[in-house]
């Protein structure tokens, strides 16, 4: 089946900074979820925004249904902007504080003439109910809702135009744990009901394990590894993924693994290190890593990794673990 969205060698630059430096991803038609995991500076948010054409691509291509997105103009661009929607991270700024909820959702409906104006109010109420909110919220202002409720409104607004692809940019990071759970449930339910495809951008590995069939891990603008989520989490093939996984806190003591320590701070995006961008912090770095950029290659069916020692990592090579705080002599 042809992918719904194809990102090929995407590069996005902000001045000297290469926020995205050669990322390739595929998103299948719905129902389907691709998780994009990374920490700050990984470029994950920028990838999402590039898909929405909110930032220009310096190189590479983004294709939706086989058509190059950058070439779209006029009517075709409007249609694209209907087919692909985004939900942002910050629930405080995601809605215009001076606009009531109802008109905020209706605005998107009107822009794409989804329903006759007379029926807009009814449609808004239906959308709010679908997002698990009291339809009477349509008359309220954003500041009268909690953060979690505002995120749901943002989702309702995104869904109002019947998109085929939804980009969720850290939709739960700013929320309490129960609100997070409810939002994730909502996404899961909508995925089934609407056969939705989504790109779930997050720094939390635990979130992708529930909602995404495939996951890609980004580091400093490049894909470190990608593959089926369960396999990626169960048997990582990149040292960074292993370290990331070990750092995720778990309630269940039995689920915790020894923490793999990464030294130093994430590298500078303006002047990335030579060779593999991860090598200064990598516990498994060898000489080759300082000189040669590892290419993204297939190491197992469906598993792609950019690491010279991927096979060893996959096989469970020992990685130094423990604390990074030296004990006093």
């Amino acid at each position: 089946m042809a992918p719904l969205l194809e990102i090929a060698d995407l590069q996005v630059r902000f001045g000297l900074v290469r926020a995205v430096d050669g990322v390739s991803l595929d998103i299948a038609p719905g129902p389907f979820g691709l998780g994009l995991v990374g920490e700050s500076g990984s470029g994950k948010t920028t990838v999402g925004r590039a898909v929405l054409r909110l930032v220009p691509a310096a190189a590479g291509q983004i294709k939706f249904d086989g058509t190059d997105v950058a070439a779209l103009r006029g009517r075709a661009l409007r249609d694209y902007r209907r087919a692909v929607q985004i939900v942002f991270q910050d629930p405080d700024n995601t809605l215009d504080p001076r606009m009531r909820i109802g008109p905020a959702i209706a605005e998107a409906l009107a822009a794409h003439q989804m329903v006759p104006r007379r029926q807009a109010g009814q449609r808004v109420r239906e959308l709010l109910a679908e997002a698990g909110l009291d339809p009477d919220f349509a008359g309220r202002y954003p500041h009268q809702l909690s953060g979690g409720q505002r995120q749901r409104v943002a989702i309702a607004r995104a869904l109002s135009v019947q998109p085929r692809l939804l980009v969720l940019d850290e939709p739960t990071s700013a929320l309490d744990v129960r609100a997070q759970a409810r939002i994730l449930e909502l996404v899961g339910r909508l995925r089934a009901e609407r056969r939705l495809s989504y790109l779930l951008i997050t720094h939390n590995l635990a979130v992708v394990s529930e909602l995404c069939e495939q996951t890609a891990v980004l580091y400093l603008g490049r894909v470190a590894e990608s593959g089926p989520t369960a396999e990626l989490l169960g048997a990582p093939a990149h040292p960074y993924t292993r370290a990331l996984r070990s750092a995720v806190p778990e309630v269940d003591a039995g689920a915790r693994s020894a923490r793999i320590v990464l030294h130093g701070e994430p590298a500078n995006a303006i002047s990335p290190p030579p060779g593999c961008v991860f090598h200064p912090r990598c516990p498994l770095a060898i000489d080759r890593c300082t000189a040669e950029v590892p290419a993204l290659r297939t190491v197992a069916p469906g598993r792609q990794v950019a690491c010279h020692r991927a096979e060893e990592v996959l096989a469970g090579a020992e990685m130094p673990s423990g604390t990074d705080i030296p004990r006093p002599a």
Partner: protein, 301 residues
């Protein structure tokens, strides 16, 4: 230790839902600034409209003079006293409500009409549009305001109209700057990006989202500037470059009355108080309107 930062949610009382009408009434009564400021402004407007009816000596606002009642102190016949040619100051102050505040409002209206669109364009569109607009604005801002107004007023024939034009030319750049900053900040917010991503037209984004959210500082600035414009107008009138005698412009009255201040204090004091009151009233009104329009203040406990 430094002061901790607590998220507002942690300390803000919760809100409940009540009807729009109740909310409005509650906001008006809970908003003394708006009520007092509004009342004063209403007073000034009424004075301006009904001056011919309430002024005891309406002719004194025009060319009438009374050589027999020159420089009389405030009394029962003349509440505010008379000036150097015997004109009733109360009447002139009342008629002055048609001049000074009106000039101020016209000047600021022009400044906004020019400044707001330019500021929004610069802030929202950015790029070369921003550069172009801001450089032009900077050129105007480089001149000391009073000197610029002077220079312009001097080349135009001395009249109220020239005064208005000169001052509008000085005032508009400040509004461009003010709105540009706000518009740029709003343009970067998530809800504006969401609109762009949803394919909503830029024009609609500007009118429906950027303008309403950038407007508040303008409102406050306008209310503060009313007093400023009146005073600048009086300075220009003093120099003979704007209102001419016998127009009952408050600034002009202050300027002319200075000479007689000791011991005839009433020539300066009453028009001066009128200016003060007007500035104060618009200030309160501006603050009150700002609060009224702030959606977050709905249903304040």
């Amino acid at each position: 230790m430094t002061q901790p930062m607590i998220a507002p949610q942690a300390v803000r009382p919760p809100q409940t839902g009540i009807t729009r009408g109740q909310a409005l009434r509650r906001r008006l009564t809970a908003n003394p600034l708006l009520t007092i400021g509004g009342a004063f402004v209403l007073l000034i407007v009424l004075a301006a409209i009904f001056a011919p009816l309430i002024a005891p000596f309406p002719g004194d606002a025009g060319t009438a003079t009374n050589p027999f009642a020159v420089l009389k102190a405030p009394s029962a016949a003349h509440w505010f006293g008379t000036d150097q040619v015997g004109r009733d100051i109360l009447s002139r102050v009342l008629f002055g409500a048609r001049v000074s505040p009106v000039i101020a409002i016209i000047v600021l209206a022009i400044a906004c009409l020019i400044g707001i669109p330019l500021g929004v364009a610069a802030g929202f569109l950015g790029g070369w549009v921003d550069e172009l607009i801001m450089r032009v604005t900077d050129i105007f801002l480089a001149f000391p305001p009073l000197l610029l107004a002077l220079a312009l007023a001097a080349v135009l024939p001395a009249s109220l109209t020239s005064l208005t034009i000169a001052m509008a030319a000085v005032w508009w750049p400040w509004y461009v700057r003010l709105i540009r900053g706000q518009a740029a900040s709003v343009a970067g917010r998530a809800y504006v990006e969401a609109c762009r991503a949803a394919g909503i037209s830029r024009l609609r984004i500007i009118f429906r989202h950027v303008l309403p959210n950038s407007f508040t500082p303008v409102l406050v600035q306008v209310s503060l500037d009313v007093g400023g414009v009146i005073l600048t107008a009086s300075a220009l009138s003093f120099l003979g470059l704007g209102a001419q005698d016998p127009v009952p412009d408050w600034g002009l009255m202050v300027a002319e009355g200075q000479r007689y201040f000791t011991p005839d204090w009433w020539l300066v004091t009453f028009p001066g108080l009128a200016i003060l009151l007007t500035a104060f009233a618009f200030n309160l009104l501006g603050d009150g309107l700002r609060d009224l329009l702030d959606p977050k203040r709905i249903f304040l406990r």
